[in-house]
């Protein structure tokens, strides 16, 4: 990319990109910590995740301020304009992801440390890993401005939905087996729902990122994945 004639313009855009990257990695770490806390019943770790949400809020405010100042000062055009508006939207999705990670953290106290609860919790482990991986991936792709990589990434988001369905069924089975499982499983169901919603925000980010990079919308038809398979049909 050719540099701007005004070099501080480039620096301001780079600073906004850095906040996106930081927020992305930070929120992925929150998701990971919340998951570990849930699986291991680690209350301290859960409390840290809850507290970390304030960091995400502050970073988002900082990004908004920088973006608004940049628009006022530079009146960006074309890809610059898309970058700034896209960053505001991506940061807002990341901030929501922070909220959802916080919600995961809050559930930890409710899902007790009993061996049964721990077994149930493992049903969401791979789903949480996938969500966290997708989140890191979308932010890295955005920072590298690799538009093409977003197409398979969004296709992979389907996998999260498939896993959510599987987790839902599994937890339902535990509840039917023994009504005493209902409390723990219901909390875990909310956790799974939170993870699935994080996946939706990752998809939003991918769509915004694609628009920032190309000026057009990410191709509309989401490839269909069959319920049992794990491979999306699109390469």
């Amino acid at each position: 990319m050719v540099a701007h004639t005004v070099t501080s313009f480039d620096e301001e855009l780079a600073a906004i990109d850095r906040i996106i990257r930081d927020m992305g990695h930070f929120s992925a770490a929150m998701v990971q910590a919340a998951t570990v806390a849930l699986l291991e019943g680690e209350q301290d770790m859960a409390r840290r995740v809850i507290a970390d949400d304030a960091v995400m809020d502050a970073r988002q405010r900082e990004l908004d301020e920088r973006a608004i100042t940049l628009i006022g000062k530079r009146q960006p055009m074309a890809d610059d304009l898309r970058t700034v508006v896209g960053a505001i939207r991506i940061a807002s999705d990341l901030e929501r992801i922070g909220d959802l990670a916080k919600n995961l953290g809050k559930r930890v106290a409710a899902v007790d440390k009993s061996p049964a609860s721990q077994t149930f919790a493992h049903s969401i482990e791979s789903m949480a890993e996938l969500v966290q991986h997708q989140l890191e991936r979308v932010v890295d792709i955005y920072i590298e401005r690799d538009a093409e990589a977003l197409v398979p990434l969004r296709a992979d988001d389907e996998k999260i939905d498939v896993q959510y369905t599987a987790v839902f069924r599994e937890l339902l089975t535990y509840m039917m087996e023994d009504p005493r499982n209902i409390t723990a499983c219901t909390h875990l169901l909310f956790c799974a729902k939170n993870l699935e919603r994080i996946g939706d925000h990752v998809t939003n980010i991918a769509e915004n990122a694609y628009y920032v990079m190309t000026g057009s919308q990410l191709p509309a038809n989401r490839p269909k994945v069959d319920e049992t398979g794990t491979q999306p049909s699109l390469a």
């Binding site: 050719v2 701007h4 004639t5 313009f9 074309a78 890809d79 304009l81």
Partner: protein, 294 residues
């Protein structure tokens, strides 16, 4: 840097051009194809230009510019200083005829009529295609006379009251009447810069033009006066075909419906303004409008 250039060019108008080879222009393919994006809803074409080239002596300033300019819309010409915007604008009402050593080739039509037909009356043409310049240039006469001059020489008024009516209406259309109605017989040069520019627009409107050309009409004005002219351009758009040269990207984005980007004498890209400023098709357009060169 880019703001002063048109002035110096005007001053150089009669000086023989010195040919300093421009390294950037050497690299340009002369067969460059303009990238064009049509409007989603096609508009009626008013001015049709095909393969227009302009030479100042031995120096070629424009290379095969082709563009259709729609009616009831504002078309903005943008591009770095010296890229040929004013040169092309002047072609549209044959102002280049007055520049010694200037030669124009290609075709320009207004409603299918050849503007360069030797039988065409150039004075009448300039009434149909009016021009507003960068620096407001009212005649050193009264406000009334400034506007009445054109209709009078073109015989557009049959009586004194008729003429008065044209003057008042033109001043109203130029959003100036309320500010000057009590001093129509004071000199026009006594008005503020922005008022003088609106007076020049009133003068252009008074002869009922079909097309209004504006060459950086706001570059000598403060932001408030600029906003008033932009508001006026937006109102005039309903009845006229307007072409505006501007060095302000924001102004082009605000006032125009189509934008044409010129670079080194070539029309690089033209398309709907919204698209040109959010996602232009050409990398050179993108680099220019985002402030990466020029």
């Amino acid at each position: 840097m880019m703001f002063n250039a048109p002035e110096t060019q005007k001053m150089n108008a009669n000086v023989a051009p010195v040919s300093i080879p421009d390294p950037a222009s050497v690299a340009l393919p002369k067969t460059f194809q303009t990238v064009r994006t049509p409007d989603p809803e096609p508009r009626q074409v008013r001015v049709h230009a095909k393969d227009v080239s302009v030479f100042y002596g031995p120096k070629q300033a424009l290379f095969d510019v082709s563009i259709d300019i729609p009616e009831k819309a504002v078309t903005a010409f943008i591009g770095p200083s010296g890229c040929g915007k004013s040169t092309f604008l002047r072609c549209l009402n044959r102002m280049n005829d007055t520049i010694e050593g200037a030669r124009v080739s290609g075709t320009i039509q207004l409603d299918g009529e050849d503007l360069y037909d030797p039988k065409l009356d150039v004075v009448e043409l300039r009434a149909r295609i009016g021009m507003v310049f960068q620096k407001p240039n009212p005649f050193p006469k009264t406000i009334f006379e400034n506007v009445a001059y054109g209709p009078r020489i073109h015989g557009l008024a049959t009586s004194k009251t008729d003429l008065e009516q044209i003057v008042v209406e033109s001043l109203q259309k130029a959003s100036l009447f309320n500010e000057v109605k009590d001093r129509l017989h004071e000199v026009g040069t006594g008005l503020s810069g922005g008022q003088q520019q609106r007076l020049c627009i009133a003068r252009a409107i008074a002869v009922s033009p079909e097309v209004i050309l504006m060459d950086e009409p706001c570059s000598a004005l403060d932001p408030i006066a600029t906003a008033k002219i932009e508001e006026l351009i937006d109102e005039l758009r309903a009845n006229y075909t307007i072409v505006i040269v501007t060095h302000s990207m924001q102004q082009a984005a605000r006032v125009s419906q189509r934008t044409a980007f010129f670079h080194l004498g070539i029309l690089v890209e033209e398309g709907p303004t919204e698209m040109m400023f959010t996602s232009p098709a050409e990398k050179r357009t993108q680099d220019y409008i985002t402030g990466r060169f020029g």
